[in-house]
């Protein structure tokens, strides 16, 4: 099995024949493409499998945190999280150029611009779509976010068609070998920047005025109003932050996956499972749930027969059912009880 190296560089647009990235499918990674008939990976591949699980898990963790921030402040389950991620990936591609076109923007600028635009779009959608209907209740707002999801997918389909796109890794070069385990360079970008983002989030939530006010809106919205916090405004901030996190995940993910207009929903489902695994309200839990789910998925797909692995999308759904059965009270407690 080959680790992602030279083949991940400069992949242009090509027709999607297998309906594109229905998973966070890693180009040249251990999971799908080189699947042997019986087992995808021998036990000797375990370190690589775990590593790729952790890397995917970082993406799920960012998306799960995005769900958590929006939910904790507004009570809205944001079904469009995967589509914000897709938008981040697509815009990064647009600005940086799929082939590393030298006339396009520098990569760092492309990422910043993409994330910024998605953040603004997230804030605008909150103001225009969610906020006027914020009293309609959880289920109605969930359906609204499904609408936003379709809107973003449609918005991406028009300019990109059903093509898949790839981007060069942030730093090119051969995979790095650590103790005999080959790790693609982008993996370090993904894990490293996820850690940095989590650190910044922690700092923001515990040390800054805006972060504390955001948490105040989570903990007790009435009390937040009583100290003069405009809770309305923090709904918008929560959506913007949620969109930002998802878009950033998309931007760092795009070098190791194929981006298509419809890559969002499977990621939404996985982020949703990761979020619930982590206990819905705990940021640490969401990160653990994300990474845990990533590893579980990699192991299941890596060590199951190809005929099973082809149904890989069923993994999150099965897990979701298990989680909901086992943790039903933990979930519904917060979803049903109105917050006073």
């Amino acid at each position: 099995m080959v680790a992602a190296t030279s083949e991940t560089v400069a992949i242009g647009a090509h027709q999607s024949e297998d309906r594109g990235a229905r998973h966070v499918k890693r180009r040249g990674g251990p999971m799908i493409e080189h699947m042997p008939v019986l087992f995808a990976a021998g036990l000797g591949q375990l370190p690589e499998t775990l590593a790729s699980g952790i890397v995917n898990g970082c993406i799920y963790a960012l998306a799960a945190i995005s769900l958590l921030v929006v939910y904790n402040v507004t009570g809205v389950i944001n079904f469009a999280v995967g589509d914000f991620l897709m938008a981040g990936a697509m815009l990064t591609l647009l600005f940086a150029g799929p082939n590393g076109d030298p006339h396009r923007l520098p990569l760092a600028l492309a990422v910043v611009l993409a994330v910024l635009i998605v953040t603004v779009v997230g804030a605008l959608l909150e103001v225009l779509v969610i906020h006027p209907r914020r009293r309609y209740g959880t289920i109605f707002l969930l359906i609204l976010t499904i609408g936003i999801s379709s809107l973003l997918e449609g918005g991406a389909l028009i300019p990109t068609g059903s093509l898949t796109y790839g981007l060069r890794p942030f730093t090119t070069g051969p995979a790095v070998s650590i103790a005999g385990v080959l790790l693609p360079r982008q993996d370090f970008w993904i894990v490293g920047s996820t850690l940095i983002v989590m650190g910044l989030l922690w700092y923001g939530a515990t040390r800054t005025r805006t972060g504390k006010a955001l948490r105040a809106c989570e903990v007790n919205p009435t009390a937040a109003r009583l100290v003069g916090i405009r809770v309305d405004r923090y709904w918008t901030i929560a959506f913007a932050l949620g969109a930002l996190l998802a878009a950033f995940a998309g931007a760092i993910l795009v070098p190791v996956t194929y981006a298509t207009y419809n890559m969002g929903i499977p990621i939404t489902l996985k982020a949703f499972v990761a979020w619930i695994l982590g206990g819905v309200e705990s940021p640490v839990g969401a990160v653990a749930g994300g990474v845990g789910f990533g590893v579980l998925e990699a192991v299941v797909l890596g060590y199951s027969p190809a005929s099973v692995a082809n149904y890989g999308d069923a993994v999150p759904l099965l897990l979701l059912i298990v989680v909901l059965v086992v943790r039903r009270r933990g979930l519904t407690r917060r979803l049903v009880v109105t917050r006073v």
Binding site: R134, A213, V219, A223, R225, V227, G228, I229, V231
Partner: protein, 279 residues
Amino acid sequence: MTTVTDRPTVLHVEDLSVSYGPVRAVRGVSFALHENECLGVVGANGAGKSSLLAGIAGLVRPSGGRVSLGGTHVTGSRTEDNVRRGLVLVPERRQLFASMSVHDNLLLGSYVRGRDRRVPEELERVEALFPILAERREQRAGTLSGGEQQMLAIGRGLMSFPQVLMVDEPSLGLAPVVVDTVADALRELRRQGLTLLIVEQNVRLAMALADHLLVMEQGVIVSETGAGSALSQEALIAAYLGGTGAGSTEGAPGDASGGMGEEISRSLLQTELSKGEQK
């Protein structure tokens, strides 16, 4: 000797009504609160006292009447904006940020003051007023005792430099010795020049704190008393409260009679609040 009524009016409430659907919790209440005055509102459970404060603070949109603060018309403005103007409510049940530290609760109290240089001074002043809060600084607010939570709620209210501080049932559910501490602190704040509007079930406490009492019954003010005659005050209150006026600071203040109306108006108020912020 000048009386408080000679001072300029800070808060003027005219014919204020608060309704929850068909239920009229407050019906046409009027009063004026003067600078550095301490006005007490007493009445049985369900008399509409908390709803009156919620209506003034903007937690609930009044169905009628007028509230002005220092001459500015603020009827129906949102609580968030009223806090900026200096009209601050320390609510019943305290409404703290339970999972956050005492320190963070206090700092969030000065949210509207941004990076005002007076904030650290005010923090010192609050911690001097309630030394226990300094001791418990890093503790989660939800783990404090009832009395400490009440002190934190008042302290948090002070952190926004209020012009008028409205305190809803400061003695509710507190042990007598703690009630004394809270009462002393309110008296001290008064001495420092704060204008206070206190809703209190515990009539003795209200009389001890306030220069002036309003007695509410079923949403209307049925009587007003001046600072003059303590005895007739007590008689008056006893008459209107059906004897609860005899309840002293030694008794548990929370368990007075009048359950039904209280429950209804309280639950309506809670329902109203749970709808989140107003438009």
